[in-house]
Amino acid sequence: MATVELRFSAQPEHVRTARLVAAAVARRAGVEEAVLDEVRLAVGEACSRAVGLHRSHGITAPVRVVLAEEEKTFSIEVGDEVPTSGAGSTAASADGGAATEDTDAEGEDEMGLAVISGLVDDVEVSTTEYGGVIRMSWPATSVVATTP
């Protein structure tokens, strides 16, 4: 089981890097070429969402992406450090911010999740007191290790 872990500061410009790394690792793991676009888009959505959450909550910790190559699957976990504090957590960003921008951000956040669930068959979204995780996986035909 090969794992690549990536941590990046919650800046929008780094989301592209996460997409490129995820696509490269997915290709190596044997994910079909036709599915790579979906992997790229899904990981981008998950990272954009995490970046948005960190920024709106003033969290300086990095966003975490774990890419795991397993026997027959390739999985990606994108973790944020925004804890859930009950049902009102999504409204936490409303303090003092421009109301319209917050509404836009929440709308985009929901659209991001809609895109992920439309694209990926195997997806789990979980939130704990430490933060949220989006876990996605795709079938992969394990590439036989070859010596260079």
């Binding site: 929008p12 410009e13 981008g44 970046v51 985009e108 659209m111 991001g112 809609a114 895109v115």
Partner: protein, 117 residues
């Protein structure tokens, strides 16, 4: 690849249209530039927009949000926002989010400019 934007005015049977040619990647980092461009056009009185997405390599939900925002703005002035796109991977994103029902999507800029309804 960064986002590239260029605009030009074209006359169609329904009046003047502003074609916004977009290239590169529209994501959480670059989408604000597209948003600014659309807002600026509407503020300058261009209410009939054609967004040519043939040169777009990547589009995510942030980009969709900007396009929906643009549509809201032009509609407030009884305008229109039409898209030009033939790329299956981009069209798929509009399909899974149900936005194919919201945006008129054309195969060529000429067709979009000629459309009236």
């Amino acid at each position: 690849m960064d986002l590239s934007l260029s605009t030009r005015n074209v006359s169609g049977p329904g009046g003047d249209r502003t074609v916004v040619e977009v290239g590169g990647e529209i994501d959480v980092y670059t989408a604000p530039k597209l948003r600014e461009q659309l807002v600026e056009l509407v503020n300058d009185g261009s209410y009939h927009l054609v967004v040519d997405m043939e040169g777009v390599d990547f589009l995510d939900s942030t980009g969709l949000g900007v396009l929906v925002g643009g549509l809201k703005r032009v509609r407030a002035h009884e305008g229109s926002l039409r898209l030009v796109c033939n790329q299956e991977r981009i069209l798929k994103i509009f399909r899974i989010t149900g936005l194919t029902k919201v945006f008129p999507i054309h195969t060529t800029v000429d067709e979009a400019v000629a459309a009236t309804d």
